[in-house]
Chain length 476, copies 2
Amino acid sequence: MNGYPPAHAADLTRSESSAARIDRRPDDRGLTVHHWVEQERRRSHMIVRVVSLADLTGWRFDPDSGTISHHTGRFFSIDGLDVTIPDRAVPHWSQPIIHQSEVGILGILVKRLDGSTYCLMQAKAEPGNRNGIQVSPTVQATRSNYSGVHGGKPVPYLAYFQAPGRQRVLADVRQSEQGAWFYRKRNRNVVIEVDDDVEAQDGFRWLPVAQVHRLLRFDDLVNMDARTVLSCLPLGGPELLGPVDGEQSDPFRSALARSYRPGTHARHTTGEILNWLTNVRARAEVTAAPVPLASLPDWHRTDDRISHRSGHFFDIVGVDVRAGNREVGGWQQPMLRAHGVGVSAFLVNRLDGVLHVLAHARVEPGLVDVAELAPTVQYTPDNFPYLPREAQPLFLDHVLDATPEQIRFDAVLSEEGGRFFDTRCRYLIIETDEPLGHPDYRWMTLHQFTELLRHSYYVNVQARSLLACLNSLVQP
Amino acid sequence: MNGYPPAHAADLTRSESSAARIDRRPDDRGLTVHHWVEQERRRSHMIVRVVSLADLTGWRFDPDSGTISHHTGRFFSIDGLDVTIPDRAVPHWSQPIIHQSEVGILGILVKRLDGSTYCLMQAKAEPGNRNGIQVSPTVQATRSNYSGVHGGKPVPYLAYFQAPGRQRVLADVRQSEQGAWFYRKRNRNVVIEVDDDVEAQDGFRWLPVAQVHRLLRFDDLVNMDARTVLSCLPLGGPELLGPVDGEQSDPFRSALARSYRPGTHARHTTGEILNWLTNVRARAEVTAAPVPLASLPDWHRTDDRISHRSGHFFDIVGVDVRAGNREVGGWQQPMLRAHGVGVSAFLVNRLDGVLHVLAHARVEPGLVDVAELAPTVQYTPDNFPYLPREAQPLFLDHVLDATPEQIRFDAVLSEEGGRFFDTRCRYLIIETDEPLGHPDYRWMTLHQFTELLRHSYYVNVQARSLLACLNSLVQP
């Protein structure tokens, strides 16, 4: 069984077939990434079972509020949130939400060698991954992980990210995660360039950065944490990914490459973008107030799970994890399991020969700062028709009616497997030639995204995944 | 009495003598600013009296929690905050704090004419100002003000700031205010450049931007809101303030002018500054939890005020305001009255001929994002010796022992007069030639501050005041 939960056997087939499409060119150890991930899957001994939520070892339910928390008070907790966003199709609701106030580290070590850039990637098992192991950052650790709360093994390579100043820091910024499921969560996205020879330990590989980006095109292969760190690389464009072959002959890639360059003509100045976003944020009267988990009117708790009365949105479930090569041998934890695969799509357009992305200033209840730049369309089809038709995203028709020629990127990728169980999203990049516009949307270049990604609270995690996916289109 | 509270008569003398030092060059209407402010003071009919906190008209005390809030639920409320910051000389305390979740607008209209830039400034009375009227931004309004919650007059010039896109937006960014006294307060700092002729209404004057900056050198004349907006002007340096006379002959001003220029050699790159600040923010384990105001162990409420048992820090008092020319004729409200004059000081140093400022990454409990860049030294002397000696700020000796030649700027300026009663701070800019260093401090250029001031949560309000004061030193 290779250590995956039996419930996933059917899905594994699909995942295997995706994996079979992986570029088989050998990496610097003569192993294709495909073989490497397969090998690691065979070696992995993680066994994940969905178990009763009521009896999770190490976790307690507050008898009054219903709050679920770890007995140490660390890791994370699950509580209720009451949300009001006036002038919405659904202006008020309440829901469970994950509180994780600790700032974890998501870090990739990079090294330049003979004109190419390599990333130290990890084949890491997470309990929520349907296929067990995915290509992950060098380091992916909560503070509770690396400060040894659970008494596990030390985190490899952590020292490179904890001693700033000893190496070149290419990126270091705290970024939000899913604002619909986390309350004000922030993780530190770090890219450190090393000069020394750093050996890849067991379970790690140095991979060319262009290859890591190519892997994004395969379903469920590069994990969310790797995607968000890749999006924060300041040289997200051709400078990092190497020269663009045949740039002149492909107008799309040519427009994409120009979009990364500073000084390229953008539809709006960065000052205008900031003015627009400040205005959206100042106008929005969002109330997101913590309330007791036990008091949520539409959510029911059984011994098995917490779920919405409609059966939509998501469940909170319990899982039991047995793992051979993790920091600790086994544990239990609650996880969020979404119903239905999400959709996150960027509409892109060549404006004056420069690729522009239609960004949405999207309000989400768990964000630290009201609204962030999000995909043009971000929603979960399965929540309709429970949700009213008016709640459907703007520009959805442009996604649903896209012709195959318009679809530049299409892959189903997993959300973070440490908190989300079998929770996935279809990431799409769709080209349009229509000059779409709306007060809550703006056309932006990739250079403008790069500028804003140096700072917290500008780009949401789904948009960051899509920006990493756009990077993957620079090379044919 | 010119409408100031009688209790302030003694202090007025000092303020008058400061005002008498104002540059008497006429503005474009042939009136000196000194005469204009004096004239407005004579016309003002604001009478402020400290009254019992228990009987404030329009305000209610929650019988259980003690929360003080307006009967409409708007404006602001006062609640308790429990703060833990490990590894501090004082690692835990609790205190009253002001909640004001509405984002207000602080806006200045500017106009370029014959190569000079003019700002439309207002002579505005605020109840907390010891001298009644101070030079204020064009617009200074909470959302409750301008949405007419109190049924007052419309706010002049507000339309210029509410219809973005019609004029040139030079700055538009939400910035924090006092993180020791406000819980996550943000105001929108906006600078709009107009091409039309905009007439100065009664109580307003178009003043050259260099003159507004010169006024900063006088005690209690330019209010906090004006200072913070001025600091967000993207051309804070010589470009806006005009050519620097005799730049070559004065090494200090020469180094100051160079510090504003992009591309000048800075001690650290902006990437290094961001890495450092991310690290400080990620490491800090700050807990700032709202608690009932009635439950604070060291704070006592009488009918007159809420105060700390030591008599230090601040009181919450009630005031009665009668005003002839405000949006409404009269009102009552609670205010925060600090004990003792604060000190905010920047140490500055010419490094390789470029003026650098020693910024402190300072944790404050009410900040949205853990820590912001703050003055080198920011403290209230009167709180010692109640606070332990170890709680004294680093580098304090460099401020206390500064020789007159080292002191480049020294003025006592008022904090915001709408929430703070007679609450002031001494702003100092002190030159040093010592290469001071500490992990929580970094030498930064003014260009680097300008870059970060485009974004929220980087520079605290005291540092922004000091940056406006630094602007005032460009001209002799």
